[in-house]
Every structure is written in structure tokens, then in C-alpha cells.
């Protein structure tokens, strides 16, 4: 029996429930030898892709709060 079936039907489900068996049997490869490399996608194509994702990103909870916190209110002086 997993955790979700053990909980009361009146209790709200966690925002992002992880199945109890998740992670127990995963055998993940060792990626430590991976070499970083630069993308070959032209910048404008990449930006078009980023823009296409904006509706999804904005639909996520807390987007506006994150956006507000992402700015620095101290004036920049050179």
C-alpha cells in the first residue's frame, strides 16, 4: 500500500506527491565525466523557444512573486 492510499480522503493531497517506491530501484549512471559544451542553436532560435515557453512558466504558482523578488532595488552607479 502506498502513502496516498493510506491517507484520509478528506485530506488534501500534497502539492507534489512523490510515489513511495520512487527512487528505491533507480540505477543512475555516473555522469561525472561529462564535458560541458556550447550549444549550436542560434541565439534568436533559442529566444523564440524561450518565448514559446512563457505561457507555461507564467501559469506556475508563485510566478509573479518570483518575478518581483528577482529584481534589485538598489540603484546601480558606475
Amino acid at each position: 500500500m502506498n502513502e496516498s492510499s493510506a491517507s484520509s480522503p478528506n485530506e488534501p493531497a500534497p502539492a507534489c506527491a512523490v510515489p513511495a517506491q520512487f527512487g528505491d530501484h533507480l540505477e543512475l549512471p555516473d555522469w561525472s565525466g561529462q564535458r560541458p559544451r556550447q550549444t549550436r542553436v542560434p541565439t534568436d532560435e533559442w529566444l523564440a523557444y524561450c518565448r514559446s515557453n512563457l505561457p507555461l512558466i507564467r501559469s506556475k504558482p508563485g510566478y509573479q512573486e518570483r518575478r518581483l523578488k528577482s529584481k534589485v532595488s538598489v540603484e546601480f552607479v558606475l
Binding site: V41, T43, W46, R51, L54, K69, K71, V72, S73
Partner: protein
Amino acid sequence: MSVFEQLNREAAKQELRFIVIGGHAVMQHGYQRGTEDADILVDKNDRVLWQRIAEGLGYKFHHDGGAFLQYDAPEAAAWDLDIMLVPAETFHRLWAEIQPSQLEGASVAVPSLQHLLALKIHALKHGHGLRVLKDMDDVANLVLANRVDVRSEWFRQLFEKHGNMKLYERIVRILAE
């Protein structure tokens, strides 16, 4: 028409200038990463004119942070627009060393690498939460992409002026690993 083409057109009408900063500028300096908005930097004396331009282009006012203004995009798949306001003297110093760039069909100005790093280090010093991770990542990757010697005097001085030595040591340590 991209937001940068629109901003170019409207700025030209009023003889205003702007510098593209943030993720778009980072990409122009060789580090390609995701971004969710268009950030521009302007002379704060032109604040009211830029507010009119943003609203005239259909952007909806979102927040006035004092040193910046935030606008929501007029369309679902358009960048939100953030306008950073700086003193006139700072704007002129940045403008004197801009790097001309092509971005989404528009000819724009982005800061020189040194000035972009200065902006990022300023943000590292004064930013909070996840913002710090993003700026740390930007600084480290700009250093790598442009083969900056982190032990060089000019790089260290950027931290002395716009950040602090603790941040400098963190960057040096990260890049040494």
C-alpha cells in the same frame, strides 16, 4: 515585430537611448541560457518618457521598485519588460563602451563585458534568494566563455567597487573546482 524593434522605433522618435541588459545581454557575451523577460537600462531622467513608451506599446504597469519599473507583456508569448533606471552619468559611462548587437531582428546596444559583469556583481551584492544563484551562474559562465583571468586586477576591482571580497573569493573558488 520584436519588442526590441518596437523599442528602437519608439526611442528613435524621442531621441532616447537604451541598453539591453539581463539574460539577453548575457547571451550576447557568449553564455546561452534561458530568460523570461526583456531587461533594458535607461537614464532615470527619462523615466516618464519610457513609462509612456511601455504603456503605448501595450505593456501593463506591474510594479515600481524605485530603481526599476516592471511591465507585463501585452501577449502570452511576449517578454515581460523590466526597465532599470540609472543616473545620467552612469548611463553615459555604460553607453561609451557599449557593444552593438543583433537581437531578434533589431540592432541593439548591450554593455561591454566589464560593465555587464559590474551589473551582475552589483546584483549579487544586493540580490536575494534564487536571484543570487542565477547571477553567480552568469558571472561564472561569462568568465569561462570569455576566458577572463579571475586573478586579473580589473576583475578583482569590479568586486571591490560593486560587490565585496567574499563574493570574489566564492567565484574564484567555484571556478577553481
